[in-house]
């Protein structure tokens, strides 16, 4: 039971991250390496610049119903800003160039945070009420894990509804499927791309919130490890396919947790090597990803 919840909550994080990357990839074929740094930035936005080990909370004093929208808005804002300032100039560049540009941007954000906050991890107690355990079917599960899973499911439903029911969502799906065609039919390219960036930034901020609440520390590197796994999940899910990204995110989370319990003790430190080995196997048998998105197949 505990394992199941561990797997689900880790998978939720990866799934949210993978969604953020897949949204942007879908509309503009950009593999956004700055995503991890948006995660860190949105959580650091709560703090006052200082180099002390204990965070000086600035906006973190807000009650939760203001705090959460504030963090989400910071993530979305930074993400939209990065599209306006940087990525708009790379519309015609090839994917490798965009990838390196996004990496350079992430580098700038990270060192900006480093300048203001130093590289030392800071302790922060964010929403402390959430760390109490609750009892579900005889297992003691931290309330936060439950909330993480519930929130992820809620976000997924909301996002699905948004993409399927609203005009903007329709435009975004059309753009993801065939960008040129969508533009010809009257979809405003820049607006759609900006929408994708805003959503992706907000998702990054949600990950930041969950991570900070879970670990009780903030650290400028905190986004990086989630981002890498999310990136892998996006690819094995089928680049550009949102359901694929979510599915692969949960699978990766499950694989990590299950291997942790199943592997013999001697092999446990090498768990990640097994997870990555599994990733290579999946790619070999399904190079297009688990759920291949339409329009991303190699054409002859």
């Amino acid at each position: 039971m505990q394992t199941l919840f561990d797997a689900l909550s880790l998978g939720s994080l990866y799934a949210l991250g993978a969604l953020g990357i897949a949204l942007i990839f879908g509309v503009m074929r950009l593999v956004n390496f700055a995503h991890g740094d948006v995660i860190s930035f949105s959580i650091f936005a709560l703090l006052w610049p200082s180099t002390d080990a204990v965070a000086i909370v600035f906006a973190g004093e807000l009650p939760w119903f203001l705090l959460i929208p504030f963090v989400l808005a910071m993530g979305a804002g930074l993400s939209v800003l990065s599209e306006i300032i940087v990525f708009r100039r790379f519309r015609r560049a090839n994917p490798a160039t965009m990838m390196i540009a996004s990496f350079a941007l992430g580098f700038v954000i990270r060192y900006f945070l480093l300048m203001l906050f130093s590289s030392r991890p800071k302790s922060i107690s964010l929403l402390p009420a959430l760390s109490q355990p609750v009892e579900i079917l005889g297992a003691r599960i931290p309330l936060l894990q439950v909330i993480t899973i519930v929130a992820t499911i809620a976000i997924l439903f909301a996002l699905t509804a948004f993409l399927k029911r609203t005009r903007f969502g329709l435009e975004m799906r059309a753009a993801a499927e065939n960008f040129t065609m969508a533009r010809m039919l009257g979809v405003r390219a820049n607006r759609v791309i900006m929408g994708a960036f805003a959503l992706s930034g907000a998702l990054a901020a949600a990950i930041g919130l969950i991570l900070a609440a879970q670990t009780g520390t903030v650290d400028i590197q905190m986004g990086a490890s989630v981002m890498l796994m999310a990136f892998i999940a996006t690819v094995i899910g089928g680049l550009g396919s949102l359901p694929g990204a979510v599915l692969a995110g949960f699978l990766l989370g499950a694989a990590s947790v299950v291997m942790q319990t199943v592997l013999p003790i001697d092999a446990r430190p090498f768990r990640d090597a097994f997870v990555y080995g599994a990733v290579i196997l999946v790619l070999i048998f399904r190079p297009q990803g688990l759920i291949a998105a339409r329009g991303t197949k190699e054409r002859v």
Partner: protein, 357 residues
């Protein structure tokens, strides 16, 4: 005109640039600057190694620094005095425990060791293409890093392996960098290199003309594994210490950035990307330490160095999305030939798509 005569000006010019840098270091004679120049040569080796595979195949690889890691640790196993190895790395087999080779022999074996693994991984990975191949190579890097970070008795896990003989002379590094350039050039004009570039630009047509794409990619992957392994061994000798995290994401992205800024499809771009970005990093470091003009010292705040570097990289890429050299190479000016064939006969006038979706 043979392919060699038509293209030999590129490796000669690049070699001259490298020698010029070495001569500047010798005349300057200061020890920190010497180290900076060694770093430049090391990065030239690594970025040229990346170019051999990425530039010719068009497949982005995040995994090559894994081979550098293999090479660096192999050099450590082979060159650290046996006495030290017994306490530091007790899990080594006896023959390796008692081995103590000179650094150049160690580097050769390190390169072969990396090549062996490149060939094995490549055999599996080279049937993939596009972004799936990139992620698979990244997964390979992460696997190598996880194993080296945890295999206590053979790699000392995450703690540093010390005692590797340090080579301070710049000449071995210069020679290795020149070797890397020449290997890359020979591969690029060989049958395998031409076939691979054909497959990069027109996969379907190349396959239809009898190019075995996975095989050609495997050749380039293994060859770049050799160069990366050699670079890793020399890297170990330049600082005397190896840790698994030296050879992980930071180095991967630094070297990839240099390749992309220089121009992903160009050997000259690989070398110039390193030289230009390294000079920029060095200039910013000097600024950070403070420059004295008259009686006042001007220094930029700490941390601004990296931010400025990131911004300059973005600006270069905005101005030149295909990199500084785009797809052309440095060569002798040859007006009559260029007038007859404006597209550079030896090179490929190709659209700016290096990756297939």
């Amino acid at each position: 005109m043979s392919v060699i005569r038509r293209t030999i000006s590129t490796p000669i010019l690049l070699t001259l640039i490298l020698i010029a840098i070495a001569l500047i270091a010798v005349t300057a004679g200061s020890r920190p600057f010497n180290q900076t120049v060694i770093d430049i040569f090391l990065r030239v080796i690594l970025v040229v190694g990346l170019y051999i595979f990425i530039g010719n195949s068009g497949v982005m690889s995040f995994g090559h620094i894994g081979f550098t890691c293999l090479g660096g640790y192999a050099a450590a196993w082979l060159t650290i005095p046996p006495m030290m190895k017994q306490t530091l790395l007790p899990g080594l087999p006896d023959w390796l425990m008692n081995a103590q080779l000179p650094y150049w022999a160690g580097a050769i074996f390190a390169a072969l060791w990396a090549a062996l693994w490149a060939a094995m991984f490549g055999k599996i990975l080279m049937r993939l293409s596009g972004i799936a191949a990139s992620i698979a190579t990244f997964a390979m890097l992460a696997m190598i890093n996880t194993v080296y970070s945890n295999w206590e008795s053979v790699t000392a896990a995450t703690s540093s392996v010390v005692g590797i003989p340090i080579i301070r002379s710049i000449w071995p590094y210069l020679i290795a960098a020149i070797i890397a350039v020449i290997v890359a050039w020979l591969h690029a004009i060989s049958r395998a290199g031409l076939a691979l570039r054909a497959a990069r630009d027109e996969p379907t047509a190349a396959a239809a003309s009898g190019v075995d794409i996975p095989k050609q990619r495997l050749i380039a992957f293994t060859l770049s594994g050799v160069v990366m392994g050699m670079g890793g061994a020399l890297f170990a000798h330049s600082i005397g210490v190896v840790t698994p995290d030296t050879f992980y994401l930071t180095l991967t992205f630094t070297t990839l950035s240099m390749l992309v800024v220089g121009g992903i499809g160009s050997l000259s771009g690989a070398v110039l990307g390193v030289v230009i970005l390294s000079s920029l990093i060095q200039a910013l470091r000097w600024l950070e330490a403070g420059v004295t003009i008259g009686t006042t010292t001007i220094a930029i705040p700490n941390g601004l160095q990296e931010i400025a570097l990131g911004i300059v990289m973005i600006l270069i890429l905005i101005r030149r999305p295909a990199g500084i050299m785009a797809n052309s190479e440095l060569r002798w000016p040859r007006p009559n030939l260029d007038a007859a064939n404006p597209q550079n006969p030896g090179e490929d006038p190709r659209p700016q798509t290096t990756q297939q979706q």
